[in-house]
């Protein structure tokens, strides 16, 4: 306990601890806000197709991140079409702070 107390007496350690707490709060907020980004109407299947909207046109980085969850079949403006996503992965995608909305992809959409 003495070492912990000595560490917390340092301003630098307190700043780092404060940053860690802020980061944890931010992660908690992302987890709480994620379900609200997912629109209603996803079919009751194990794998679904989704239209993901970002606040900016997607770049290579974003496409590579989405490819961890499914197949990217196209982009248009700020939206990305992602197919074959495990339904349980929708929340993980919604937790990304740069994802604005996830809606079901209409059947027959290109």
């Amino acid at each position: 306990m003495t070492l912990v107390r000595a560490a917390l007496a340092s301003t630098k350690v307190r700043i780092l601890a404060g940053l860690l707490v802020l980061w944890l709060v931010w992660q908690a907020w992302l987890a709480i806000a994620a379900p609200a980004k997912i629109a209603e109407g996803f079919p009751e299947r194990l794998r679904v197709n989704a239209l993901i909207t970002l606040p900016f046109p997607p770049e290579r980085f974003h496409i590579l991140v989405f490819q961890r969850h499914g197949r990217v079949s196209g982009t248009e403006g700020n939206t990305v079409e992602l197919r074959g996503i495990a339904k349980s992965d929708l929340t993980a995608i919604a937790r990304l702070y740069w994802v604005r909305r996830i809606a079901p992809l209409r059947e027959g959409a290109s």
Binding site: S10, K12, F61, L96, W98
Partner: protein
Amino acid sequence: MTPLLKAYGAYVRTTARFPVLQSIVPFVPLIVLWAVVADAGLFPRAFFPGPIDVIRAFGDLMYKGILPDYLADSVGRLVVGAAAGMAIGIPLGLLVGLNARAHALLSPILLFFQAIGDIAWLPILIIWFGFGFTTMTFVIVYTVLFPVVLNTVLGVRSVKQDLTRAAQCLGASPPRILWEVVLPGALPNIVTGLRNGLGYGWRALIAAEMIVGTSGIGFLMFDARRAGSVVEIVLGMIVLGILWYIVDAWVLAPIERATGQRWGLVTP
């Protein structure tokens, strides 16, 4: 001289009250000089961006989620590599330091492999493991390993024989001597080795990310050259510097100091 003395007095008082400022103030003239040179237009803006351009790029990469993701990847790799390097390096250092036969057998091998730089392993690692996490982790472990092993050996050998003999006289078993005498005595050197190893490992990681990475700060910088984005390269360099400064000066150095104060040997 009076205004200068007054300004210096104010600086001393302020930094005494807020010691964190001591870390920031030395950079102020450097940033001012950088801004002046950039604004003077001596070089094209695309080749020599100013501080404001870098701040704007920082905001953009944060907004798009690229910088936090790459930063997390780099730090994660360093943590995994350093943990593995310590897990191998400390026991190996104890063995070499405590056992004369192991020392005679392993010292030439350690020296031989120490001479082969981490980057020299990359060609063969790419053939064996491809472009990915295993290759980068191997490079970091390799880089962290030698400073940890050699400093642990030094630490073990610097523990006074009198202390070991005193513990033996009091009936301590070999494992207890190792745990309560040798290891605490060697700890200041082990922490110094870890600090050096992490510094080398951090640099090796960035080099490895540039060559074999698909993410990370090194990859961000090397990928930026494709688009000719000097501002992202400069941003990557600044992020590397700031992150390492915080890790080394704010975390590792105090741990090293505290370890030295708690377990270091005071000699008159």
